[in-house]
Amino acid sequence: MQRLYSVPARGARASLFGAPIRLVATALLVGALAAPTLAHSVKNGGLTIDHPWARETAQGQSAGGGFMTITNAGRAAERLVGGSTPVAARVEVHTMSMEGGIMRMRPLKDGLPIPPGGSVALKPGSFHIMFMGLKRPLKRGEMVPVTLDFARAGKVTVQFKVEPVSHGGSHGGH
């Protein structure tokens, strides 16, 4: 799996250590992009966001779904609380459940917990982020910048790749 983004969960914004840590993060990011097989060695107590993608949307469709896997290699619990993107009015974190053949979708008020040492998959049929109030359709193949908001790590900007609607469905279309 391709790792598109990694960032230290803590410290990146501290002014004293900010620059060197950012440098390390950049080096790791570049390394991750250049050699995906090495990416699993990112173990600086950071977050890794794998394969962020969004579903293409139609003209007039005012919301779209976004998916990714978030890994928290740190020792502290993390939470994805929201986000922002230039292409939509709001970014919300949602859960979905099926009970008795009925689909229910709900915003997660307290965000999505990412346990220390754990990873959480945002995928069809489960957790997802939603781009609410889309300002324009998401076109297949384009990259959409999304700034994810984490309770500890703060803001992390990730490029979401827009995939066909069939992507990630039950038949595993790519």
């Binding site: 293409e56 099926m98 009925i102």
Partner: protein, 207 residues
């Protein structure tokens, strides 16, 4: 005058919704039974005979589509809304995929998508949405009353649920209803059905 009307009307509507919810639950139970016994759609024989018999919706151009219009060709009908990020695109993608897997036989049934979000999805919006799936899908919607009638006719549950910020989401039944060429209920497909089982059901539908 105005203050006499609303109360009984609201009560009647509440009862109507209760009935719809119960009916949807009934279909859900039938679906569960079929899934548990893994079997044959005979179980569906217990379903009411009038499922999907009376509805009137509109296509992307605003032209009316009724149970009569659809007769003659079997169809797979699914209710959802375009802002549904997940189960709707997944289900419609799966139907498109199953159709392709059937080769030439895939053209022998219609895929119908009904948006239950009259407050948001215009007929043209629904048309643009179904075009995403790369296979002909008939996108329908209607006025709030038309949608409520259609959902009741198909025993489909849906309910607007307010969320923070004044917006709403919609809970809805997630099964696909298979209707034969005479416009009668054959069976239900769920995302729990294996591809083989779903294909077998669709082949039976067009047989």
């Amino acid at each position: 005058m105005a203050d006499i009307e609303p109360r009984p009307l609201a009560r009647a509507r509440l009862w109507l919704w209760l009935l719809v919810a119960l009916a949807a639950l009934g279909l859900g139970v039938l679906l569960a039974m079929r899934l548990i016994t893994n079997g044959p759609p005979e179980v569906i024989a217990g379903a009411p005979a009038d499922v999907g018999q009376h509805f009137s919706l509109v296509d992307r151009d605003g032209k009316p589509v009724t149970a009569e219009t659809l007769k003659g060709t079997p169809y797979a009908i699914f209710f959802g809304f375009t802002r549904c990020p997940d189960v709707c695109p997944t289900t419609l993608s799966r139907m498109a995929h199953l159709r392709k897997a059937m080769g030439a036989d895939g053209d022998k049934f219609r895929i119908v998508f009904v948006s239950v979000d009259s407050g948001h999805d215009s007929p043209a919006d629904v048309g643009a949405y179904v075009d995403l799936f790369g296979t002909p899908i008939l996108g329908l919607t209607g006025s709030e009353a038309q949608i409520a009638d259609a959902a009741q006719s198909f025993r489909v549950f849906y309910q607007k649920v307010p969320v923070e910020g004044g917006d709403y989401t919609i809970d809805h039944s997630a099964f696909v209803i298979l209707m034969d060429r005479d416009g009668r209920l054959q069976s239900l497909l769920s995302d729990q059905d294996s591809e083989e089982a779903a294909l077998a059901e669709l082949r039976r539908l067009i047989a």
